[in-house]
Symmetry: C2
Subunit: 333 residues, 2 copies
């Protein structure tokens, strides 16, 4: 295992310490329990949007805490759900009186622990709504999941709901924004290599030198198929086809096209993937009105990519364009 | 070789095609010869800042073309200098009458070809200044270089000079900004793995499973030493020490601290590196007033990092904070 780490036990803590000293203007990091919170939290009278999950997917979620996006993020151990007390403490820390939205990715541990945290917070009189991301069209049920996994749409939901909260919209309207992402966003991923969880010390799975896995999950959960490595254009076809079949698109529908890097794939390749994904979307009659290209929801150093297509409308475009200032996503401010 | 590509021969072209369809609001891509130019070029009456070099370092340089940064970028084949006609055509395309600055990284091919292009452009009456980045403290002379290599400072110089040009400063003042970066910016890198140039099809060098290379160049040029893989904190020490010895810093000096990913190293590790680099800078009496953390000057999928320390002053801070909108670096707009 070759990594720029010290002790595998301290990876999450030391990385969070790095985040804290790097961005004191944007975030504060609390330890034991671990959570990352906006430096200016709580925002009185505004909805707070929270997410969290296992570490190893950076910049998600801690890198998205800041102005116009998340109010807090709860990082678990690598590829392991955070504990209920992390979400509970974070919920209390960001509660500004207008309610708190928990954005939960559909993994069994996350769902259970966020549920517990929401119950605890409600017991203290905090208005918590919980929503579930399950946008991965690759497989029903998986190693960590009942139903579909939550992947790329999470990043988009965090930006869009965060913008709605920042604009002062009430909790039910922030949930409405989320539901648009849930209904109109679909994703699929693939890997050329495995990744290595630091405390495991060896690759999560074996993938022969000439094979790739289509439909893989962000923790290396099995996908749809293994096949010999194929040209990028074919790989993109194999992901875009199931994505575009899963949502009812109409000719001329505006979409956001998100080509994500899994961590070990360089940008020069992601733009080759984007080129083909864009071409397929256009051929299908869609209008790509916004895009995002880069490593935004990763799986440690896994080589691979995922594609997310999200149906947009005028309000979602407005929320997407709204100023955001976080360690990993920033524009307009 | 596992890559998300089609034909190795078409990697640069197809990636540029992806850049073009992804960001038509920011850039235009010209082919044969290849160059990326601001969508609104030329900016009449303003200095134009150009850079270029081998591909494989994305987002550098094409991802830095746009508002407040580069007016054009000339991508060569992977790890291969662009040709003089690329820079010549790009220079003509962005010339707005106030002169053109060529930011050249110190590699033999780049220096020679940019020199030729500058001569050709001057022959057409364009006022061209050429400046050389040679910030890598690791080694004097190298596989591709006479003297020091140009690495991480390039990204900072492109942002700072681009901001000066955008603000309407004359060419000599944009050169002055560059000279501050040249005098006050130093870098060093390291690798855990090699990378594979697509048309070569095999790793550029061999690095045993338990070794790393300190002081490596961005094309895999030999560094200072190979050693067993060590904890991240020791690795950072081995880079920060020569960097901080090379420039005369005074107690309280403001600096920008840039922790760069080589392409295959995930963000969770870069923040562990940042944590230690920041601590060392503080202990040395420096004030880290700005930072940049992520894969900004890469070597394909190489795993590793580089650190750049740049001495700042009030004017450089102002230029750093100025709005920038490019495919890869964006804030304030």
């Amino acid at each position: 295992m070759k990594k720029l780490i010290n002790n595998p036990e301290n990876v999450v803590r030391e990385s969070l310490e790095g985040l804290a000293v790097a961005h004191p203007d944007l975030v504060k990091v609390h330890f034991d329990p671990n959570y990352v919170v906006r430096a200016d939290a709580p925002a009185q009278g505004k909805v707070a949007v929270i997410s969290g999950g296992g570490s190893g997917h950076e910049p998600m979620h801690g890198g998205y805490v800041g102005i116009g996006m998340l109010a807090a993020a709860c990082p678990g151990a690598v590829f392991t759900s955070p504990t209920p007390d992390q979400m509970f403490e974070a919920t209390k820390a960001v509660n500004g009186g207008a309610g708190v939205l928990h954005i939960v990715k559909n993994y069994t541990g996350d769902v259970m622990n966020f549920d517990l945290a929401a119950d605890l917070a409600r017991g203290e009189g905090i208005n918590v709504e919980s929503v579930l991301v399950n946008d991965d069209v690759a497989v029903e049920d998986s190693l960590y999941t009942a139903g579909r996994r939550g992947v790329g749409s999470t990043v988009l939901a965090e930006k869009l709901c965060g913008a709605a909260a920042e604009a002062g919209r009430p909790l039910n309207q922030v949930v409405e924004v989320f539901n648009k992402v849930k209904n109109g966003g679909r994703s699929m991923g693939m890997a050329l290599t495995s990744c290595t969880v630091p405390h495991a010390g060896k690759p999560t799975f074996d993938l022969p030198e000439d094979e790739m896995e289509i439909g893989i999950g962000i923790h290396g959960e099995p996908g749809r198929m293994r096949t010999k490595v194929r040209p990028a254009d074919e790989v993109v076809d194999m992901m875009m086809d199931p994505i575009l079949k899963d949502v009812e698109f109409r000719d001329g529908d505006p979409v956001l096209l998100f080509v994500n890097g899994m961590g070990g794939t360089p940008l020069i390749e992601l733009y080759i993937v984007y080129r083909k994904a864009h071409e397929i979307a256009m051929r299908r009659g869609l209008r790509v009105v916004r895009n995002l290209i880069g490593p935004y929801i990763t799986s440690l150093e896994m080589a691979g990519t995922s594609i997310t297509v999200l149906k947009m409308d005028d309000d979602l475009i407005k929320l997407w364009d709204a100023p955001v200032r976080t360690p990993a996503l920033r524009w307009g401010v």
